[in-house]
């Protein structure tokens, strides 16, 4: 039957502005899904890495050995990165004569704080995009719908005989924009909530870990002081 219309026809027949809105929403949806999957892999990897490294760290291994082992690897992330940054600073300052342990610890703390905030910003990447898509795309879709319905009613005004068949396609095609907005928004909002919870969890974990490393280095610095 010719009256039956496919979704493609509806999109193709929509007004340019509505089409633009639809294209923007489709793009937003695709990009947000890219972010969602990328973040998924990223968080899984980060948790796995942190688990493995912390197990290794607390296995009683000599920290100097661990540092040597890791130092060759560049571009370290998560807990490994934190540990390496802190320990590296400790090694550097420890070698200097006449530096009291408090000063060494201050330096170590500063470096670890920097490295921690870098880790946090790494965790945060793309989350703001997901939040934006989640909160704005329903409105963008609604705008497309309102515009489409507006046009379809305006063209109705020019008709001598108003039938449902003359308005219905216009409204239907306009409503696709809202549907697309929601289609883009719902996964983005869910992902945003989930990932921000995960991010909090991981950043707390990094913080705890860096405190633990600082405590160990602090002990080491003061015991060295006592030895001398």
């Amino acid at each position: 039957m010719t009256e039956q219309m496919s979704i493609m026809e509806l999109v193709a027949n929509a007004s340019p502005l509505v089409q633009l809105v639809m294209a923007a929403l489709a793009l937003a949806s695709i990009v947000s899904w890219i972010m969602i999957t990328q973040r998924w892999f990223f968080f899984n990897k980060s948790v796995r890495q942190a688990d493995a490294f912390e197990d290794h760290f607390w296995s009683g291994i000599d920290l100097r050995e661990l540092y040597e082992e890791l130092n060759s690897i560049e571009d370290l992330t998560s807990s490994e990165g934190l540990f390496v940054a802190g320990f590296q600073e400790y090694m550097r300052l420890e070698g200097r004569a006449g530096l009291d342990p408090e000063a060494v610890m201050q330096g170590v703390q500063r470096v670890m704080r920097v490295s921690l905030s870098r880790e946090r910003s790494r965790l945060e990447t793309h989350l703001s995009f997901l939040a934006t898509v989640g909160s704005t795309s329903p409105y963008v879709g609604l705008f497309g719908t309102v515009w489409g319905i507006m046009n379809s009613f305006r063209s109705l005004a020019n008709m001598s005989q108003a039938t449902l068949a003359s308005v219905a396609p216009g409204i239907s095609e306009a409503l696709i924009a809202t549907a697309m907005g929601l289609f883009a928004a719902i996964p983005a909002v869910i992902a945003y909530n989930r990932y921000s919870a995960k991010m909090d969890l991981l950043s707390d974990r990094y913080e705890d870990f860096s405190e633990e490393v600082i405590a160990i280095l602090h002990r080491a610095a003061h015991s060295r002081d006592l030895k001398e």
Partner: protein, 243 residues
């Protein structure tokens, strides 16, 4: 470089997901299989003048003279224009039985009463009728007229049946009787439900069906019109629901 690599798989996944969603949508919402448009050609009973044979041997009156039952399967058209888009509902087959009876001249008061008691009393009613008719229809002229009237009546049924769109609330056993009054041009003067089915929308649909016709074909012969079509009853009954 490694950051780009981490985006490769997600991009692939995202695009695949959207392609899947799109294909699902266009499949699901796409051009739906065309409903085989079975149009039931209305059977139009052509009214032809019946030559009156002057043979006096035939005396048998027909019981259908006053009560005609038509049990024909007919599709109700959901809308009056067949080229309009069809709904997905399957065409409902409706058997519409209509009882038309003439009340103005031939049928006295007791016939009206008898006809109000429906099927159960049909047989006795019929006998009753036959007796009355036997008395009245001795003349073959009348029989010829009756033949002609029946043709017109068939056409009236046909028109009403075509215009009747049965409401979803119609159930087996419902019946509504409508009294229709015409003027000699065939236009409807009044339609009202003389015996309700108990279901308002059913009654209304029946009334609508008659009103939609606007103008019936009636015999030009004034006598025939007066005796058969000035006032008649239509009985609406959805017989074959829930088969």
């Amino acid at each position: 470089m490694s950051t780009i690599k981490t985006y490769f798989l997600p991009t692939l996944f995202a695009i695949l997901l959207h392609a899947l969603a799109l294909s699902f949508l266009s499949d699901f919402w796409g051009p739906s299989k065309s409903i085989n448009a079975e149009t039931f050609e209305p059977k139009v009973v052509s009214a032809k003048l019946i030559t009156i044979e002057r043979s006096r041997t035939q005396k048998k009156p027909k019981p259908e003279q006053a009560k005609v039952m038509i049990n024909e399967r007919k599709a109700t058209m959901s809308s009056s224009s067949p080229e309009k888009k069809r709904t997905n509902l399957p065409l409902e087959e409706v058997k519409l039985s209509e009882v038309i009876e003439n009340s103005s001249e031939i049928l006295p008061e007791q016939d009206l009463k008898a006809s109000e008691k429906k099927e159960e009393l049909g047989e006795s009613f019929r006998n009753d009728l036959s007796r009355i008719l036997e008395e009245e229809l001795i003349d073959l002229k009348a029989q010829g007229d009756d033949e002609l009237a029946r043709t017109y009546r068939e056409r009236i049924y046909e028109l009403v049946r075509l215009n009747w769109s049965r409401p979803p609330s119609a159930r087996i056993g419902m019946s509504a009787r409508l009294q229709v009054e015409l003027i000699p041009t065939g236009e409807i003067v009044s339609v009202f439900v003389s015996e309700s089915s108990g279901n308002e929308s059913f009654d209304r649909s029946a009334e609508q069906a008659v009103r939609k016709v606007r103008r019936f074909d009636v015999p030009a012969d004034n006598g025939l019109f007066e005796s058969h079509f000035r006032r008649f009853y239509l009985l609406f009954r959805p017989d074959d629901l829930l088969r």
